[in-house]
């Protein structure tokens, strides 16, 4: 397709988009895709008939057609790198650090009150059953209880490591509740709430953290590296940001398979500094992958505060550069997260394009059990965020206004959950470890000759050790 035709088609699409802009009050950056026009010679819609189409098409264009393509009018020439960029006689620079900030969408304030300006379609009272609201809150509580208990279990030496979601309960539960289980998750490591919502049990969590034979990865990974095939949660790996380009690839595959679901990828603002993040967003934008990128911007990457992590306007501000629509949302507001993810998924399926969602939140706990955050942030800062901005407190008040929940219920529920978790942990501790043979399995689909040899050598060694010879 000629670039000129392509750009007029894109202009039409853009106009339609602006016209149909919904009342979502959060800031949604509808981006001019001009920059992508020229080099996107193979639009998705063409793929069925693309047998005959290749860029050699333009090799046969006449001189006048080429001229028309690159020079739409006397004053506008179309460089392939930025089609549609108008000429100006003023030397202007685009401010790297803008005064304004992408606004942060919020539905419910820190007192649990719903904003009076919220449209009906994003109003929990109009959209949600009270039982679902309560269930969402209960899952946030479950997450909090699990984190508290497993954190202490690590302190007691019962598990080797743990990472809590304190303060970020709404990011996980709000986003998970807005998705279907068929939407595939590529997580970072602090998304246990998503699994919890999808039905991963305390037993499943505890088995993994204890590394016993009952967990699918047979105790090969450190605690919190969960995975579940049936819940479409791809197993966590420790390297940061590696899951992001994988999510783009997975989403591309879902598109090829005409799936009605999307890929969802979680990461932190620190991981967004890795090269993988940039590659992933650029791939998703150019190859039009139906993926929802969710950045949990919790202000800290271990000890490094966000202000030492980047200079621009957070992560949402980067969407513009990649030609990806983006939103910024209060990550401690369960409803804002829920409706933004719902709307995000709808748009992704409608447009077959990626979307970037930045959730502003605060890491209430330490980075992990190997970290002591009091060494790099003040106690009163933690208190301020953890108490005033607590997503749990907000939600509890919201439910209390509607007579769905009270302090008594809260205490009772927490106590029940504590007991349930304790039982699961005790059982997981008692469960046997995976057999030693598993050390060598799953490296390849089958044992290779070198692994066979090494396995034999290990067992021979252990046998010799049982029967000490003159060495001992």
């Amino acid at each position: 397709m000629a670039t000129w035709q392509h750009s007029s088609e894109m202009l039409k699409r853009l106009t339609e988009r602006i016209q149909s802009k919904s009342s979502l009050s959060c800031h949604l950056r509808s981006l001019a895709q001009f920059g992508q026009l020229c080099l996107r010679r193979f639009s998705w819609s063409q793929h069925c008939t693309s047998q005959k189409i290749c860029q050699s098409g333009f090799l046969h264009d006449s001189h006048s057609l080429l001229l028309r393509r690159y020079s739409a009018s006397g004053s506008e020439y179309y460089f392939p790198g930025a089609v549609g960029a108008p000429y100006t006689d003023k030397l202007e620079l685009i401010a790297g650090e803008k005064e304004g900030r992408v606004p942060c969408f919020r539905i419910m304030n820190e007192y649990g009150e719903i904003s009076s300006n919220i449209a009906k379609e994003y109003h929990p009272d109009h959209q949600m059953e009270p039982s679902v609201m309560t269930s969402m809150y209960q899952h946030m509580l479950k997450l909090h209880v699990m984190d508290t208990m497993l954190y202490s279990a690590q302190r007691q030496g019962r598990i080797s490591f743990y990472m809590t979601s304190f303060g970020e309960e709404a990011t996980a539960i709000g986003s998970a509740a807005a998705l279907e289980t068929a939407d595939v998750i590529f997580g970072q490591y602090r998304e246990q709430g998503v699994l919890l919502w999808r039905g991963f049990t305390y037993r499943d969590f505890c088995n993994q953290c204890c590394g016993n034979a009952l967990e699918p990865a047979k105790g090969r990974q450190m605690p919190v590296h969960y995975g579940s095939k049936e819940l479409n949660f791809v197993t966590i790996s420790s390297p940061l940001a590696t899951q992001i380009p994988q999510a783009s690839g997975y989403a591309y595959g879902m598109k090829l398979s005409n799936s009605k679901n999307i890929t969802v990828c979680y990461f932190g603002e620190g991981a967004a500094s890795e090269g993988d993040f940039h590659a992933a967003l650029n791939f998703a934008a150019t190859l039009e992958c139906p993926v929802l990128f969710i950045c949990r911007n919790n202000g800290y990457a271990i000890s490094t505060p966000a202000k030492e992590q980047y200079r621009g306007d957070g992560i949402a501000g980067r969407g513009l550069a990649y030609g990806i629509d983006s939103m910024r949302v209060d990550g401690n507001d369960l409803w804002a997260v829920y409706f933004a993810v719902k709307e995000g998924k709808r748009r992704i399926l409608q447009t077959s394009r990626p979307l970037l969602l930045e959730l502003l939140t605060y890491r209430g706990g330490h980075h992990s059990t190997s970290d002591d955050s009091s060494r790099y942030r003040q106690k009163n800062e933690i208190e301020l965020y953890s108490e005033r901005l607590s997503p749990l407190r907000r939600m509890k008040r919201f439910l209390a206004f509607r007579n769905c929940w009270n302090d008594e219920m809260d205490e009772k529920y927490i106590e029940e959950q504590r007991k349930e978790l304790l039982t699961a942990l005790e059982e997981a501790e008692k469960a046997p470890k995976a057999p030693l043979e598993d050390l060598f399995h799953d490296v390849y689909d089958q044992l290779t000759p070198n692994l066979e040899r090494q396995k034999t050598m290990l067992f021979e060694f252990l046998e010799r050790e049982k029967h000490p010879t003159h060495f001992s």
Binding site: F42, W44, Q46, H47, C48, S50, Q51, K52, I53, C54, Q55, S56, F186, E215, P216, A217, K218, R220, Q221, H225, G227, S228, K229, V234, T235, S237, P239, T242, I244, P245, Q246, A247, S248, G249, Y250, A251, Y252, G253, M254, L256, S257, T263, G275, D276, H278, A279, A280, N282, F283, T286, L287, D442, V443, Y444, D445, T448, P449, N450, L451
Partner: protein, 366 residues
């Protein structure tokens, strides 16, 4: 057969000439015979033609196979993906942005979903931005999830090796880096017949494979390649030529050098050399080389990559363990020097015919 002509944009022609097709390597012929019968239809192809043919076969036989990378849409800088986009559509054969870590990460994601993700890295010298994705992700996907998820459908193709004028960044042979990574398979073909069979096997293997293509052979190595679909087993070496006195072990383009060494050793010293092509570098076929060394008692390992900590070091260590009492001389290695790949002095850097021949002489007179 698609168009084989046209020149690579960056490399008009290889400067080093390669000996004509040789008829060694009966084991592969037997494998092909088992799969395709006695006289499959064959066409004369060069190496890039055979790669192109294998890719077309992979795309034809599985509609969940996709080919992507930098500049693959117009046929690739080495012409390996010529006309694939026209045949199979822009959604299955496509350009990606210029980011190796993006390409491999994207491919892993596709492979996790069960696709045959066939990624091209334009030069093996530029594979290092993808090192993390290959070593920490692709290689460990199955292990770390206990088999819940794997990316076995991933194949990463990359041109490697000396080409006469490539210098530091268009000549490297990075196989040893990847051979140190459990979970990956590493394959390097020596001619068009092996290239097609091994590439198809790599694509269909249920483990991630790095498929290194010696770029010097793209246009210089010709063979009568069967048109039908056939596979050559991974993890098996091939005795290219059998002999009694010295075992010469190599892979990729170096096998041709070793065949010439064998020929010259016969003429000059009346020696009978056994030439073994490893073909799969990880997991490698220790059995075949150990068997050969037990027969000859003398062994020369030769590769283009730097000698220190190269794959030759691993093979030498494993061989001495298996064949200690059979060895008549120390295991010799003739490899690249521990320098970056040179430009002006490439011919002195390379493990040339003469250097190898000299080593054979020393082995015999040790």
């Amino acid at each position: 057969m698609s168009r084989m002509g046209g020149w690579s944009r960056r490399y008009l022609h290889a400067t080093r000439t390669i000996a004509n097709l040789y008829d060694y390597g009966l084991q592969v012929e037997q494998k092909i015979q088992q799969q395709l019968g006695n006289s499959p239809e064959r066409v004369r192809m060069n190496l890039f033609g055979a790669i192109n043919h294998a890719l077309a076969t992979a795309l034809e036989t599985n509609d969940r196979a996709v080919v992507f990378g930098e500049d693959v849409a117009f046929g690739g800088v080495f012409r390996c993906t010529t006309e694939l986009q026209q045949r199979f559509g822009g959604h299955r054969v496509f350009n990606t942005p210029l980011s190796e870590q993006g390409i491999v990460g994207f491919g892993i994601g596709l492979a996790v979903q069960g696709f045959h993700a066939i990624a091209e890295i334009q030069f093996a010298d530029y594979i290092f931005p993808a090192f993390d994705q290959l070593v920490n992700e692709a290689a460990k996907y199955r292990y770390r999830s206990g088999g819940l998820f794997d990316c076995g459908g991933l194949t990463v193709r990359a041109p490697c090796g000396a080409v006469g004028h490539g210098g530091l960044y268009h000549s490297q042979s990075p196989e040893a880096y990847f051979c140190h990574t459990p979970g990956l398979k590493v394959v390097m073909p020596r001619d068009p017949v092996r290239a097609k069979g091994l590439l198809l096997a790599s694509i269909r293997d249920r483990n991630p494979v790095i498929f290194l293509e010696p770029k010097i052979l793209y246009r210089s190595s010709f063979a009568q390649v069967p048109l039908e679909d056939y596979l050559l087993p991974l993890g098996k070496a091939e005795v290219v030529q059998s002999g009694e006195d010295v075992t010469l072990i190599g892979w990729g383009a170096q096998v041709q050098v070793l065949c010439q060494v064998a020929e010259r050793a016969k003429e000059k010293m009346n020696l009978s050399c056994e030439v073994v092509d490893m073909m799969t570098l990880l997991p490698y076929d220790l059995e075949t080389i150990a068997q050969s060394v037990k027969k000859t008692g003398r062994v020369l390992i030769s590769h283009e990559a730097p000698i220190t900590n190269g794959l030759g070091a691993e093979l030498a260590a494993a061989l001495q363990e298996q064949c200690f009492l059979y060895l008549e001389a120390p295991i010799f290695r003739i490899c690249g020097y521990d320098t970056p790949f040179p430009l002006a002095n490439e011919q002195y850097y390379l493990p040339s015919l003469d250097k190898c021949l000299d080593a054979v002489q020393q082995l015999i007179h040790y």
